[in-house]
Symmetry: C3
Subunit: 112 residues, 3 copies
């Protein structure tokens, strides 16, 4: 399994949820975060206001997926998150060794 | 070392802390999160209220552990988090390459 | 690539941002967190107040970096985070398989 993490613009969350759902992904975890990328010190627009790029609000989305789906799902998330403007964010994948569904104790891909 | 991440019902946090303590685990990190699993669109009960399962509040717990303890500690966390009702959450493990205790500079298992 | 995660005292964030910037690192993600280490049950001072060490506020910083920079950057973060007092935190690294810059679709080190 893999863990896909996406740090993206908050207003793209619904788009990402729908794109994952359409692909057949059944769960995700969201955390509020903030950050900056390469434009630190310049300005980025968020909700009509200009921010000097120093800890602009983002959402951090985590999705546990099967190995075989990971590459395609990264593309799904990237496409759904994209606005074409600076600050669109980063998506990365990390290897996961064990995953368990707490209620049932199922492990591995069955846990997802 | 491994990083165990658990996304679970907030009211299970104390139970999980006590179970880890009993095992001899000395630290953890908690973040507020929200999410959904397979029942998205159906309802999940949280603090007596029914939520349509779309971003129900969860806590995200991280525990850095030694390799040899990881498997058993996943079971400890799963057991402490379980209520038997939908939405009990997920627990997963990720490989960790380096860990440092900031105050002392100790590395590896000594850093935990 | 690697993901460096640091869970540290909130008032060290600016110091860490400046140290990363000086090294040439262009981005980071911050999440509010809380936690405890080995002193659970004892007291830790935060903003002049003593906390019984049970979920003291921390910041959780994530930095995606190139493999060749990871080891040195861990030292940079550790040094910038250190106050010498208990509760200074932990820094750890995780392997990253894919990273994408959302706006451009660039992958790998070019995405950072
Ligand atoms: N190296 C990094 N490590 C961790 N998080 C990062 C990194 N770079 C960016 N981020 C996160 O992604 C968010 C958006 O970054 P951003 O899209 O501005 O990156 P960028 O490389 O500057 O791309 P762009 O040129 O399209 O703006 C930041 O607010 C931060 O939370
Ligand atoms: N695939 C996933 N990726 C990331 N986080 C997930 C995933 N599935 C679930 N989660 C997180 O775990 C929390 C609880 O999920 P949940 O226990 O409802 O999963 P489930 O598979 O539907 O299990 P159950 O049938 O027992 O409800 C969610 O709110 C979400 O934060
Ligand atoms: N094993 C662990 N797993 C996950 N997070 C941890 C762990 N240990 C500590 N942390 C996180 O790091 C923060 C600071 O921990 P702390 O620096 O007190 O560790 P410590 O080992 O007790 O070191 P010190 O003796 O210098 O206080 C905690 O609040 C928690 O968020
Ligand atoms: Mg940018
Ligand atoms: Mg569910
Ligand atoms: Mg401590």
């Amino acid at each position: 399994m893999k863990l896909i993490t996406a740090v993206v613009k908050p207003h793209r969350l619904d788009e990402i949820k729908e794109a994952l759902q359409a692909f057949g992904v059944h769960g995700l975890t969201v955390t509020e975060a903030s950050g900056y990328g390469r434009q630190r010190g310049h300005t980025e627009v968020y909700r009509g206001a200009e921010y000097t790029v120093d800890l602009v609000p983002k959402v951090r989305i985590e999705v546990l997926v099967e190995d075989d789906d990971a590459e395609q799902l990264v593309d799904v998330v990237v496409k759904a998150a994209r606005t074409g403007k600076i600050g669109d964010g980063k998506v990365w994948t990390i290897p996961v060794e064990t995953a368990v569904r707490v209620r049932t104790g199922e492990r591995g891909p069955d846990a997802l």
